[in-house]
Amino acid sequence: MRLAPILAMTLFTGGTAHARAAHAQAAPATAAQLAVRLAAIPAPVGYESRLADTVLALLPGARRDRAGSVVLTAGTGTPRRLIACRLDEPGWVVGGIRSDGYLTLRRLPGLAPPLFDQQLEGHRVSLLGERGVVPGVVGVRSVHLTRGRRVDDSPYTADDAFVDVGARTEAEARGLGLRETTPLTLEKRPHRYGDSLLAAPVAGARAGCAALLRAAAGARPARGSVTAAFVVEQGLSGRGILTAVNAGGPFEEVVVLDTGREAGVTVAPDSTLGRSVRAPAARWRLRVRYAGTPVETVHLGAVAALERRIAEWIRGAR
């Protein structure tokens, strides 16, 4: 096994005092570096604990709330404000383990981009097994064996997927720490290109969390309190942010970090969100290209700008 996967497995497991200390020592110097690091960590919806552990380790004073989100409140009293980013991403779980060692899949519930399942075909996945990350690939028909034969051109779905972890039998697959409901995502290999561009699945969301983490670690409100929340299950039921509101609110103002197509960072009031969180609410959208694909792209310069803007907001700027 190569060194990189071993390091990644160490990073993903998190949680122990030793690991936390290691994470704290290795805290990235910039929001851009942190964005790259967070983009490498899988956090399928409902199974965000590895990413949450990393955020927890990098944000002194933060705690897990009852939903599994990571929250940090700075300051006391009113006004109480909340700013949140999303930890979760779409993903899959193992639906079954066949006698020949192949795994079948079920898509996790919640929102997912178009052709999301097709991202699997012929690519690597990371299975978050009981004993660490297990690498695997999703099989694809060999082009040689289909040549001259009718090929279905309808989109690939999770029902078509067979995951190959190298196991020859069901027992061998289970011996790797895999079972029904083991979560998985595409293998994460954040990719830098152009001038300060980062491509990765959900790169925009991870960049938002990196900016929030950096800002929350360094800024304090001039008056009142600000809660920074790194929330789970945003793409499913909103359980993370609603729990943060119900347990820590009421808030006078709520900001949710999101992604969009417009240049830079745009601010859009969101009355629907406001009704859910029972406060004036806005979405701050960080521009991404190729949203919802394995190469969702964010400009790392914009991440630094977002960090500065969040820090100003925490301090009290309108």
Partner: protein, 363 residues
């Protein structure tokens, strides 16, 4: 490479039978060689980095020559009948066919594969002088009736204009791949892109390193060819150079296996882990039956697991057909050929390397 394998070898050496220890060491050497070759980039026509690695990994006594096509030759022994082994250096990928005004790159496929599995993925543009990272663009919209196949693929290197792309060194003719990495799976399985035909190339190298040259009774040529994926072009040059001199050729290439639940099961029936394969029938050649039977007997005499099968695709050995040279392709079973997720079994590769050596020394 694999700390696990080295550890296994050490443990076996400490207390287990010598045969098992030798097997573990053999597997470790195969893995080390394959990992190096599989992580080198060499789309058809730009095989230089792979050829350099092969040359570097040759045994010190081997004298290598590169011909005008780019094929790498190593000749061992002397006299007839001349036997040729040929594995190909190149891999599938893309070639930049145009640079648009907006800085994006139009791509032309080199080799056969499903373009959908390259859509929306990280990319590397190989200019010859540098590697420029980028992405292969996802489709702009999915539409009301989505299809698996994307529109013609383009790449983005983060350039805002044609001039910007050119300033980064990108040119028409640059080649494009996805980043890749060798990864060990469970047991003796491994995955990587371009196992086709870095596995064959690795098997030739390992066989050459362990060859007992004192046993050779004739000349044996080890050939690493170029541009196989775009029409056996390198092998055709080599075949023309040898003419009727060669008595037998062995393409050492992939056996595209149907060893997966979603594949057509009518043929391609050589499962992973059951040994090397005689690729007796494919789209380009049919191995002569007496030679097939003789080779099976040779493998049995050396205890080398060897399967027999029919599959699809062409092989470099068929380029020698115009000179009447019998082609007996030997292979290893591969799942998911021509994808980023190719899977092979290292035990099969070990068997293949042993088979190459046996043929050179005894057949």
């Amino acid at each position: 490479v694999s700390a696990r394998l080295v550890l296994t070898a050490a443990l076996l050496t400490a207390g287990a039978p010598a045969r098992l220890a030798a097997q573990a060491i053999e597997l470790a050497e195969v893995e080390r060689t394959l990992e190096t070759l599989a992580e080198a980039y060499g789309v058809s026509g730009m095989e230089g980095p792979v050829r350099d690695e092969v040359r570097r990994l040759l045994p010190p006594w081997a004298k290598a020559e590169t011909d005008t096509a780019g094929n790498l030759w190593v000749r061992v022994g002397s006299g007839g009948p001349v036997v040729v082994f040929v594995a190909h250096l190149d891999e599938i990928g893309f070639r930049v066919s145009a640079v648009r005004d907006d800085g994006t790159l139009e791509l032309e496929r080199l080799g056969g594969f499903f373009p959908s599995i390259f859509e929306g993925r990280a990319a590397l543009v190989h200019t010859g002088a540098a590697v420029v990272p980028g992405v292969i663009l996802p489709r702009d919209s999915v539409g009301d009736t989505p299809r698996r196949s994307p529109p013609p693929l383009r790449a983005d290197v983060g350039a805002g204009s044609r001039a910007d792309a050119l300033a980064r060194g990108v040119r028409v003719g640059s080649t494009v791949t996805m980043p890749k990495e060798y990864t060990r799976l469970a047991g003796t399985r491994a995955t990587g892109r371009s196992f086709d035909d870095r596995v064959g190339s690795a098997a030739l190298l390992v066989a050459l390193r362990h060859l007992d040259r004192s046993r050779l009774r004739h000349e044996v040529i080890f050939l690493w060819s170029v541009r196989e994926e775009v029409g056996l072009e390198g092998a055709e040059v080599a075949a023309r150079a040898l003419g009727t001199t060669a008595a037998r050729v062995h393409a050492v290439d992939t056996f595209v296996s149907a060893d997966a639940p979603f594949e057509l099961q009518a043929f391609g029936s050589a499962p992973l882990g059951a040994g090397a394969v005689i690729r007796a029938v494919d789209n380009s050649a049919i191995a002569p039956v007496p030679l097939v039977d003789s080779l099976r007997a040779l493998a049995a005499s050396r205890g080398i697991p060897l399967q027999l099968g029919a599959t699809s695709g062409g092989n470099d050995g068929s380029a020698f057909a115009p000179w009447g040279v019998p082609d007996v392709p030997i292979a290893w079973p591969l799942r998911y050929a021509h994808s980023p997720a190719e899977v092979a079994d290292l035990a099969d590769v070990t068997a293949l390397a042993r088979l190459v050596r046996a043929i050179a020394e005894d057949w």
